[in-house]
Amino acid sequence: MSEDIVLLNSDGLRVDGRALDELRPIKIEAGVLGNADGSAYVEWGANKVLAAVYGPKEAQPKYLQDTAKAIVQVNYNMAAFSGDERVRPGPNRRATEISKITAEALENVILTNQFPRASIDVYIEVLEADAGTRCAGLTAASVAIADAGIPMIGMVAACAAGKIDGHIALDLGKKEDNFGQADMPLGYVPGTGEIVLLQMDGHMTMVEFRKAMDMAISACEQIHELQIGALRRRYAVNYADMDDGGTEQ
């Protein structure tokens, strides 16, 4: 990580004009795919991510089945054209790791014990990448699972905080990620305060870490509102119906 490149100007603003604790613009839409049981689309800065959920359905092949609960399988994938260099199709080590930790984060919130022997399959496709795709993917996947009507103790919202030019900053962009000093993706369940995904690489002191955590958690709470808004829009008619019904009863 080089420090020749200036990431913070004299006004304390970042390369894209954001303040240190400011998120990139985020748009979340639920129910965007025709065939999946649940789906969501997230635009997060220049990141574009789709998530689809199929299930719960019988896990196949059978040796994968857990008699006590559903298994959660995640496939995170970068589209061939999603980055500066063409990505060769098929799994790679980075995608394998992200799939694994995303599945672990989701398994924590899904009420898997309601669905013994079942599989809940989550597909995350990164259509365009600009740093932060694992957080965008986990955020989208949570909405897709809710859209599928699968019971959860709460949705996971995810966001990274990091360090640029020696300052803790929220939600690093690609240039900040490449030339900053640390990045720390966090997956958080606002309802319960649980941390379900946490990674860090770079260089942080304890003080910096606490600041980064506080910033990321606060951002996750904002993102959680966007997730709920997306679901509300998706089920607007239904909610309206329910409200009417509620009034009458």
């Binding site: 795919l33 065939n35 689809a52 061939a80 054209f81 980055g83 500066d84 063409r86 259509l127 990448a129």
Partner: protein, 260 residues
């Protein structure tokens, strides 16, 4: 695709409707579903288009990078067409290595583009025998409701026609538009017993005996054909399909050229 079975009664219904010239979604046998699209949707790609044909939803991205020419085509660029049918798009699609279906789609789309000569391969030569542009066209199916051949071809044409060659990024002069002309659209029919219908939905594909795809260029000439599925066609079927395809290609081409 995993063996996906459609109930016999559903098949029968689709056929009965077809006998009356009707379809599940109130189209005539020769109608295409509604088409909508957007280009330049992926800024990391040199060209891109997302197109929906009814509920079929396809994203095509084009990336270019310098590479070495093939030994037998020293002065020509290279086109590489890939297609991924991911489980996201349909519960019948499976993870893992590309399926036979995805290989067939990629190769048929590729042939339509390649054989029409719409892409000037010689203009993609940087230094004969040494360096040429490699064009990676990747078809990403987002939702599948039948007729991927035509949807993928249209999205590919749109993506290619809006692609800029990223010469400056590789220190090879100024960017320039990808040297393309022509709009060789494909028209796909399926045959149910004795009836041909265009632009099949997934239910119609699952009910079909045979499939026939034909690529028609701006002059109404044929550039590629592909018969698929386990049933057969008669000589008359083929000629009728080609006739229809010639006519329908005009409208389809206009729709994607003008966006209307």
């Amino acid at each position: 695709m995993k063996r996906t079975i459609i109930p016999e009664i559903k098949k029968e219904l689709i056929y009965k409707l077809a006998q009356c010239g009707c379809r599940e979604d109130d189209r005539s046998l020769e109608d295409f579903r509604s088409i909508s699209f957007e280009t330049d949707v992926i800024s990391t790609a040199e060209g891109s288009a997302r197109l929906t044909l009814g509920k079929t939803d396809v994203l095509v991205g084009v990336k270019l990078q310098p590479g070495e020419p093939y030994p037998d085509k020293q002065d020509q660029g290279v086109l590489m067409t890939g297609c991924e049918l991911k489980p996201m798009a349909h519960p019948g699609f499976e993870s893992g290595a590309p399926s036979d279906e995805s290989v067939e789609i990629a190769r048929v789309v590729d042939r339509g583009i390649r054989e029409s000569g719409m892409l000037d391969m010689q203009a993609l030569c940087i230094e004969p025998g040494k360096k040429i542009w490699m064009v990676f066209l990747d078809i990403h199916v987002i939702n599948y409701d039948g007729n991927l051949f035509d949807a993928a071809t249209m999205a590919s044409l749109l993506a290619l026609h809006t692609t800029a060659v990223p010469a400056s990024r590789f220190g090879l002069g100024e960017d320039f538009p990808l040297p393309v002309n022509l709009w060789p659209v494909t028209i796909t029919f399926v045959k149910l017993r004795d009836i041909l219908m265009a632009d099949p939905t997934v239910n119609e594909e699952l009910s079909a005996d045979a499939r026939f795809t034909v690529s028609v260029d701006d002059n109404g000439h044929f550039r590629a054909m592909q018969k698929g599925l386990k049933g057969s066609l008669t000589y008359d079927d083929v000629v009728r399909a080609l006739d229809m395809a010639q006519k329908m290609s005009l409208e389809l081409r206009t729709r994607i050229q003008t966006g209307e």
